[in-house]
């Protein structure tokens, strides 16, 4: 996401919003870190509905 073109569903588009790629990556990294404890909870637990299927 540093040039004029970004990959998008098999095609290329020209970014028109001029968002800072570093800020976008920061947001993604923060989201990943915020979700990490929940992911850990999900991978160390199971539920009655999962085991019933």
């Amino acid at each position: 996401m540093d040039g004029t073109f970004i990959w998008f569903r098999g095609g290329t588009v020209t970014p028109k919003l001029n968002l800072d790629p570093a800020t976008v990556n920061l947001a993604r990294e923060l989201a990943r870190r915020a979700g990490e404890p929940v992911t850990r909870l999900a991978t160390t637990h199971t539920t009655v509905s999962i085991e019933r299927r």
């Binding site: 919003l17 968002l19 976008v24 920061l26 947001a27 989201a31 990943r32 979700g35 992911t39 999962i50």
Partner: protein, 165 residues
Amino acid sequence: MPPTKHMTGNVFAGYLLDAFFNLCGLMTGQSILLVGMMTEGIHTPFLSDRDLALENVRYVRSAAGRLGLSFQPDAFVVERAHRVLGEAVDLLRRIESDGLLNAIADGTFGVTKRPPGGGRGLDGVIERALGYFNPVTDVLGGFREVVPPGEQGNPVSGVLEGDME
């Protein structure tokens, strides 16, 4: 209007297709718009069909008629995108330090509040025993182990995989 051959008798698909054509015509500023009707090619459109076709144009025009203008440089959408991204980073910073479950408990997302240690169905959640094995989860591509941070190519993919139940 789209060629009449696309009017197959599925009036819902026809109405949708007409809306796309109306959008193209309005976004490119056509001075004349031949209005498509969902029953053309099937029978001579009723007066009520014509009324619905005009309603289609009016709706598309008011909802998205000036969509093209939104993507010019320094347009409202650009400013809005920067503001939303900035606010998203601020919110994510807060959630990351407070914890996602606490953020949900505080009602950060909409008005839905759920306590971290409560909620419907909680009594059905059990800690996995040592040597837990569920072949279905494996086949469906779910995870059995926690992926260590930094070992994922795409930072989003881990979050998306978490949705696969």
